[in-house]
């Protein structure tokens, strides 16, 4: 299982690098915000994989909170893009 976990972390790392490259060449702020969202969720997935590797219960709670409250970051970015207009 350890090999699989590190393989999956590698795949997610490739996704993060691809996304960072995408942000570098993003034409508008909205695209950068969406790609940033994908990086956030890749980080959440990496946390899950770390919880498999470490067999820790605290990481599961962290993942639950991250998926519940990640919406705040997205909504904040959305408000920034529209300069506060709804």
């Amino acid at each position: 299982m350890t090999v699989v976990v590190w393989l999956a972390i590698g795949v997610l790392g490739a996704a993060v690098v691809t996304s960072l490259w995408q942000i570098r060449s993003a034409s508008d702020a909205a695209s950068a915000a969406v790609v940033g969202d994908l990086i956030f969720f890749s980080g959440v997935a990496m946390l899950v994989l770390v919880s498999i590797e470490r067999e820790s219960a605290a990481v599961v709670d962290a993942v639950m909170l991250a998926s519940l409250l990640g919406v705040l970051a997205t909504v904040a970015l959305a408000r920034i893009i529209t300069r506060g207009r709804r």
């Binding site: 996704a15 508008d28 909205a30 969406v34 997935a45 990640g70 893009i81």
Partner: protein, 148 residues
């Protein structure tokens, strides 16, 4: 000082961990099968996230990128979470608390992130980001049809 010693002596002592509580929920052949399923789910889930990242390169505008986020939050990460829970069954005892936590996480990924994507897509349109000219219908920007 003696009061303190008495106080400490009166504190409840944690009992020994009973063997049943420490035993994993699944053992033997069942554990092997479940571990294999968990490994496949975790790997394919990561591949879904990577596919989502590649799709963001291939599409042209911000609105399509919001759509391209769907496979990651809707399929990839739920698969990874389910795989982690299945693997947890082969290591720890079954607990309903974990089931509730996994259910809340899956619900949040499917529902909360959908709402967040909707807000972000609306913001992308309102901010005047470039859009594929074929985007139709577009009620946010189009003039409302005149009543006949």
């Amino acid at each position: 000082m003696t009061t303190l010693v008495h106080l400490v002596a009166a504190l409840p002592v944690a009992g020994p961990i009973t063997p049943e509580a420490a035993e994993p929920a699944l053992e033997g052949a069942a554990a092997v099968v479940v571990t294999a399923v968990a490994a496949v789910l975790v790997l394919l889930g990561a591949v879904w996230v990577l596919l989502s990242a590649i799709a963001m390169h291939r599409v042209g505008d911000a609105l399509s990128r919001v759509n391209a986020l769907g496979p990651a939050t809707g399929v990839g990460i739920p698969w990874i979470v389910i795989g982690a829970w299945l693997h947890n069954l082969t290591v720890h005892a079954f607990s309903w608390i974990d089931v509730v936590k996994v259910a809340i996480t899956l619900g949040a990924l499917l529902i909360v992130s959908s709402v967040a994507s909707n807000v972000l897509a609306r913001a992308a349109i309102m901010s005047g980001a470039e859009m594929d000219p074929a985007t139709s219908p577009n009620d946010l920007l189009d003039e409302p049809p005149s009543p006949r």
